[in-house]
């Protein structure tokens, strides 16, 4: 007998499951197929403008900085401005995401833009979010050929573009979009919810920013509502 059969057998014996599992199997299959939402807090249930306001408020509470841009074309200038404000060199690394690819980086001739995954020596990284969640000021990032996961964790400063129209009220609304993009039961390899910059409270329960991930998280919200 394999350990798989041994473990499953022990579970079935403890649960006193009968010889016919049809009812239990049907229950499980139905629940997985329905993936019905549970209790969704009222907090995020607002109109698009209200969701956006809540997103900014919650992001601020978790020490993420943010700014609102009238169009995606303003992103290169916003990146350069952010780096100056932090006294950082004019250099950033991004993924090959087409939404970032087509931005007018040539308008910032001082800004050196590298493309691809991080080797751990970048000061700043730029990513495009799949979605935002107003309920907790969270951005949702998905991995893929043009979206390296290392950019989310290795650079000291992480700048994330999120479209206002893609800021959902709650996580459940994001799952609906994930299923549309990756199919029923499908997921990207890595899906990251990021809520503020990295922190630790492990020394005397005092919260300090900048543990292993980025010390600061800056959200660039492109107003396409």
């Amino acid at each position: 007998m394999t350990t798989r059969e041994a473990v499953l057998g022990k579970i079935r014996r403890s649960l006193h499951t009968g010889p016919s599992d049809d009812d239990r199997r049907a229950t499980v299959a139905a629940r997985l197929a329905a993936h019905a939402p549970g209790l969704i807090p009222a907090r995020g249930q607002r109109d698009p403008a209200g969701r956006l306001a809540l997103f900014f408020e919650m992001a601020d509470k978790v020490a993420a900085s943010s700014e609102r841009l009238a169009s995606a074309d303003e992103i290169p200038a916003a990146v350069a401005r952010y780096l100056r404000s932090k006294n950082l060199p004019q250099a950033i690394r991004r993924g090959g995401d087409p939404r970032l690819e087509r931005l007018p980086f040539d308008r910032e001739p001082q800004l050196a833009v590298a493309v691809g995954p991080s080797d751990g020596h970048d000061l700043a990284g730029l990513s495009h979010a799949f979605a935002g969640v107003a309920e907790t000021g969270t951005v949702v990032l998905v991995s893929g050929p043009d979206n390296p996961t290392t950019l989310n964790f290795l650079p000291e400063h992480h700048l994330v573009v999120v479209r206002a129209s893609e800021i959902a009220g709650d996580y459940e609304a994001v799952w609906t979009r994930v299923r549309a993009a990756f199919g029923e039961g499908g997921m990207p390899r890595a899906l990251n919810w990021i809520t503020g910059p990295s922190r630790s409270g492990d020394i005397e329960q005092t919260i300090l920013l900048g543990a292993h991930g980025p010390r600061s998280l800056h959200l660039l919200v492109v107003d396409d509502l």
Partner: protein, 474 residues
């Protein structure tokens, strides 16, 4: 790890006398209790979410075999491997085999309580593989050769001065004269030292907060980002998960995530919630080349269908220990194994035997705070009581306790004698009282007042007062 639970009394006595530990334990209240209360209050649906979370997990446990099968199928579809482990030994062997096949020399680790449960680090070291803990608290206690004293805050028993001393002792390549008085300096130093470890590790091992049957995803929740670096950078990612971690759908995980961080640290959500599904895909610029999940039973399947089944709802938030007066007084190490506090008092006897861990369910005042804050509404005091009953049935208690309880039972079963004895005891205790308090009880009862006083009875017994007010007697 070695079980020192049989020495709980001695462990507790030492902990109470440890001035540094007592200072560090003051941070439990500061760090957790008020924050949890505030987070719970800020979400009007919090109590209803706790009910939903409980009901969800009850459903999962009744169908655990089927959800595990569904989960396994999806992991394999995504290119991952599932390994089933009946025992700690199985799990250790699976992990070592993977590491050896890949020629691994160093392994980074995200926080995982079940790797403590199976003593994985000791085993890896014996095999010549160096495990590096990357969660700041876990890193600190690894430097000290200790084990976590709390399931969420492993180094809660330490002061910043102790951490500074350890960093000086171990990070000898750094300037000996550097200033380490501020916690932020300690954090930066750990970040720099561990960054190099992340970049050279061959295998990354993390735990799992949840597994999703619908998608075959594993989830980890961290604030530091260490878990993500652990699993993204090396050649292989090994997920260590116990069998009860499986949850049906993405929507179901939302419910649990909404209560987890609020109960644990008082955050609305942890900084990083990461859903991992299989290894690096075609065209991916990063991510692990292999993705393995080890599903560990280690005694859990035997809890199903028993009075301890409810314990399998636990999502390891630590709220029960944060709110426990016994944990606050003695800290986590006194409990003598991996899981401290009320959840440990229930789980440890299940996993290592009540003969070894019988003291733990007895180390409770039954004040009920643990159950009142448990996001999964696990009836912890009821289960501690169940362990006391089992201990009694198996005659594991000391003879003095058994004869004392026998005497009490004899008296309690005879109402007239009981009333007489209660009146006599009340009278005697009043004589011992000074200003309403009793400083010292004599003889066999002296232990009761060794570390604290107790209130003296103020008047007649309850039964006498009841009678005087015209109450009916049974």
């Amino acid at each position: 790890m070695q079980v020192t639970s049989p020495a709980f009394r001695e462990n507790a006595r030492k902990a109470l006398a440890d001035v540094t530990l007592q200072k560090a334990l003051k941070n439990v209240e500061k760090g957790f209790i008020a924050k949890r209360a505030k987070a719970a209050e800020a979400l009007p649906e919090f109590e209803a979410l706790r009910d939903a979370a409980r009901d969800l997990k009850i459903h999962v446990l009744k169908h655990l075999d089927l959800y595990l099968e569904a989960y396994e199928k999806k992991v394999v579809e995504a290119g991952g491997h599932v390994h089933w482990a009946e025992s700690a030994e199985d799990a250790r062997r699976i992990v070592t085999d993977i590491c050896k096949r890949l020629g691994a020399r160093t392994v980074t680790k995200g926080k995982s309580m079940i790797t403590e449960e199976i003593a994985l680090n000791d085993h890896l070291e014996k095999e010549g593989i160096t495990p590096v803990e990357t969660d700041l608290g876990e890193y600190i206690i690894q430097l000290r050769g200790e084990h976590p004293s709390h399931i969420v805050a492993p180094a809660v028993h330490l002061t910043k001065e102790q951490v500074a001393g350890d960093f000086r002792r171990v990070h000898t390549h750094l300037d000996a004269a550097r200033d380490l008085t501020e916690p932020v300096t300690l954090l930066t130093e750990a970040r720099t030292v561990l960054r190099e470890k992340f970049l050279v590790a061959d295998v990354g091992i993390t735990g799992a907060n949840f597994l999703i049957a619908e998608t075959g995803s594993s989830i980890i929740v961290t604030n530091e980002g260490n878990g993500d670096l652990t699993q993204t950078l090396p050649k292989a990612h090994i997920v260590m998960a116990s069998i009860e971690k499986v949850v049906p759908t993405l929507e179901d995980v939302d419910t649990l995530l909404r209560v987890l961080a609020r109960s644990a640290t008082g955050q609305e959500l942890s900084v990083y919630t990461t859903f991992s599904t299989g290894p690096r895909r075609e065209g991916d610029p990063d991510g692990p080349g292999e993705y393995h999940v080890v599903l560990l039973d280690n005694g859990r399947s035997a809890m199903l269908g028993t009075e301890f089944e409810d314990m399998l709802r636990c999502i390891r938030c630590g709220a029960c220990m944060n709110h426990c007066p016994v944990f606050q007084a003695v800290g986590g190490h006194a409990y003598g194994w991996v899981y401290p506090g009320p959840m440990g008092a229930v789980l440890t006897p299940t996993l290592v035997g009540v003969d070894k861990a019988g003291h733990l369910p007895n180390a409770s005042t039954f004040c009920g705070r643990c159950e009142s804050v448990c996001p999964m509404r696990i009836p912890l005091p009821k289960m501690m009581r169940a362990w006391r009953n089992r201990e009694w049935e198996r005659a594991l208690n000391p003879a003095a306790l058994r004869s004392g309880l026998g005497l009490w039972a004899f008296v309690a079963a005879r109402p007239a004698l009981y009333r007489l004895a209660a009146r006599a005891a009340g009278f005697g205790l009043r004589l011992l009282g000074r200003g309403g308090r009793i400083a010292r009880l004599p003889f066999f009862a002296s232990g009761w007042t060794a570390n604290r006083d107790m209130p003296a009875p103020e008047g007649a017994t309850f039964m006498d007062q009841w009678k005087a007010r015209g109450g009916r007697s049974a």
